[in-house]
Symmetry: C2
Subunit: 405 residues, 2 copies
Amino acid sequence: MSELKGARIIVAGGGIGGAANALALARKGADVTLFERAAEFGEVGAGLQIGPHGSRILKEWGIFDEVIAKGVLPKNLVFRDAITAEVLTKVDLGREYQQRYGGVYFVVHRSDLHSALVSAARRAGATLVNDATVTDVVTEGDLAHVTLADGSVHSADVVLGMDGLHSVLRPKLHDDKPVGSGYVAFRGTIPMEEAGLEEELEDVVGYIGPRCHFIQYPLRSGAMLNQVAVFQSPAFLRGEEMWGSAEELLPAYDHCHETVRSALKHMWTDRWWPMFDRDPVDNWIDGRMILLGDAAHPPLQYLASGAVMALEDAKCLSDYAAEDLRGDTANWPQILRDVNTERAPRCNRILTTGRMWGDLWHLDGAGREARNELFRTRDTSSYKYTDWLWGYDSARNRDGLALSH
Amino acid sequence: MSELKGARIIVAGGGIGGAANALALARKGADVTLFERAAEFGEVGAGLQIGPHGSRILKEWGIFDEVIAKGVLPKNLVFRDAITAEVLTKVDLGREYQQRYGGVYFVVHRSDLHSALVSAARRAGATLVNDATVTDVVTEGDLAHVTLADGSVHSADVVLGMDGLHSVLRPKLHDDKPVGSGYVAFRGTIPMEEAGLEEELEDVVGYIGPRCHFIQYPLRSGAMLNQVAVFQSPAFLRGEEMWGSAEELLPAYDHCHETVRSALKHMWTDRWWPMFDRDPVDNWIDGRMILLGDAAHPPLQYLASGAVMALEDAKCLSDYAAEDLRGDTANWPQILRDVNTERAPRCNRILTTGRMWGDLWHLDGAGREARNELFRTRDTSSYKYTDWLWGYDSARNRDGLALSH
């Protein structure tokens, strides 16, 4: 494909979102350069959940088979009460689900997805550059000029600001700061045989409880167990600037079921992730630069859609540009506006719903009782709560997916 | 009936519970004397909701028609969100409900129910004495001796300690104190035509919201509107000993729907009721004295079962005594134990569930969202949440009511 032949695009940031955008644009013939400040491409972290809103896009880009070969297709999303371990509800991820949403729900190691995107972007012709820190982007006429930390300046028709949660480009549009959730994540992956699970783990299981939750799912074809422990940091509540520490981990689960508490010994204790998001903003555009990915809309992780939103951004931008550019780079401002208009409501809904979803998981007392009973009694044949999330499509003049049931 | 002929019983306290017990025992032939400290029998307050668990008993005692003539049969219990006024769920109180629970759900002025019980108790032969404050009850052998404030001593086979929430007899068994809920009730009754309601009010309507709720229902054949405003007192949260005041009323509903806020002008502001209950206790017996009614199990009002529990106490005690006494007053200790054993789990469940139900009404944030969605989506043809409350029967060897559906 070569709809974007001649379009020069710089991507500032080489995480999952930057790599995805480089791939999507290069696939359509654009001249893409990606600058990443790290000396090597890579992803820290552990497992990542990708819903059908993401897997559909990977399939379109032709890298789904490569990614899924390293991933796992869980059978269900299972919610358990963290105090009693009672199963509250399940989402069956089988054939009916996959047909409804046009894709599978899978889990994969972050680094496996990232390296597949990086490789595919390079195969598609994108230039990916390491050790290159973008410090500024300035628009002049129809060009955006990117300044790197080494002093060099690079011009393009459009720049994608994709430098993540702590973006240095976002302050050109907004003077906000990341918002601390007070919750800190500990992660850990271990060989499955060391986990000592009583039954084979074929699901993504989330234990949800007062002020904490705990997630388990298999990775790497079931050879590994991925675990995530997330809890409210007492240090945060005390108003301390540095919050979250290994000493806080075990006591945070004192009120939880033995199944959860005994699994904590497998968590890494030399790294942790205080969790931040940002308040939603409507404008992502500064001249010929558009913020995308976490720089534009970093969510809390509760809807497992942070990485997927960046994939959606990439599909939307590359589709709209291919439809409208037609060799005329003067169309870029309208294309960016259309992308912003399409994507901001979608992503901001995920941000605000994600915060609410976290609150729902961590309820105590009567709120927890109401949540548990709502989960127990919900109509599991209905998709009414999730169609907006997993059935999203950025196509113009869309009727949406054929979400009949 | 005269199964209890010769049995001498003193009831300490002449509220709804005391009058009900005097009636139930006198109907079966007991020699009942009731001492009430107030100069006249009467009830402060306003409306009272009586479920089928209570109306069945009034029917058995032959005073249902007299009471209901002054009451109203609401068509539904309606729950609305206090912020949006959205109808969340209804309980249809019509024919199917009445058949299932063997009685109606009705509302009546407290004083109307109370005076019907007092009159019926007198007609049944009970002696009701005013200006008589019980200060102590001491068991000696097979007799209980009641001391009044005037120094006189009165003997009986059994004494019912029914002197309410602030019981002076309960400390003989337990050194606990009433537990402040932090919520204060304001009440008000006005002629219906002054209320300015848009539609005729045929239901008991409860607006439930963060830190407050508001109840409306018709009284006196629909000629009066009864309203109850209950909210969390800021003075209580500040730790002040006296909490709840008229100045707190309006600001407590600032976040609520206009429908609720505009109704507050009809509340009495010269009286209010800080709401207390007590922690559940298992033992109600001290020798030949048994605590019943609010002295034994004062609830928060959320399940509208405080008065009904006292009616249930009266039915249970009079039934068990009639079955077992058989002219032998030596059977009293076992009868009291059986009543205690039957009634304490029942009443304590209402106490603890009442607290939880209040918490559920007053949720904010994600808890409120979960509660609202649970209410919206509940199966309104199911009675699974309420059979235990409204279907209760104290009969021995019971199979329960025929609660099939």
